[in-house]
Symmetry: C2
Subunit: 159 residues, 2 copies
Amino acid sequence: MSSNQAFQDFYADEFARCYGCGRLNEHGLHIRSWWDGDETVCTFVPRPEHTAIPGFVYGGLIASLIDCHGTGSAAGAALRARGGEPGTAPMPRFVTGSLHVEYLRPTPLGPTLEIRGTIQEIKGRKVVVTSTLSAEGVVCARGEVVALEIPEGFGAQGG
Amino acid sequence: MSSNQAFQDFYADEFARCYGCGRLNEHGLHIRSWWDGDETVCTFVPRPEHTAIPGFVYGGLIASLIDCHGTGSAAGAALRARGGEPGTAPMPRFVTGSLHVEYLRPTPLGPTLEIRGTIQEIKGRKVVVTSTLSAEGVVCARGEVVALEIPEGFGAQGG
């Protein structure tokens, strides 16, 4: 299995409409994350309109990247904890319980951004993921997502 | 002066390109915030594509609303602390130092969202703003923004 098989590529169709990471949202950002050893990684090139102060990336986009990378990483981690890898078993789906972002320095608009996640905790239906967001090797933001697994049957109800 | 004169309407042109709240960003969200007594308020109707799980609002959009409402509120609060109101003096411009969002319950997609901010602290170039985000009178998310005033001259350099 290629290491860039993204967690989000395996979400069930009814959970694949997210503006941030849904492969079926034609207007969305299509954020994708995958394993790199024990870390998770995502790369993203902001569009020119994703600006804050001219020349720098919009903080809300940075929050979105950390958010969807966090819930995707949580899904991958929960699956791995159950002995699975993307594509080998149904992918669980997590939503965000809380999101924290520290903006350490302005993030330049233009370069590819790399978000790297570390699984801090898996407990029941909760997974905690911390991430760094870097541009050209410099960490510009740090984030934490507390992700919660969606109860079974929610999709049928909600979607 | 009408109470819905938005803080963001008075940002200097070089600071009005933000994807979240810049009036000059033609692809952006055009988030606008204003005083309501001692609180700040913002209303926003998400677009259909701003979905998370179908039927509910994307968490990254909620983070963006709390973010830009927070920095806008910080600008209004700093101006008021100096004796000014929007339109009577140059509007300061804040960026986000940190952002925290608690997602209390799924936010329904469809109704107008209302974000209400409270100024918690003004200290030097730092302003702390807490916000609630509600749909049809129910608080669905809570947030905190630590906003930092941009040093003078940054615009000429960054923009």
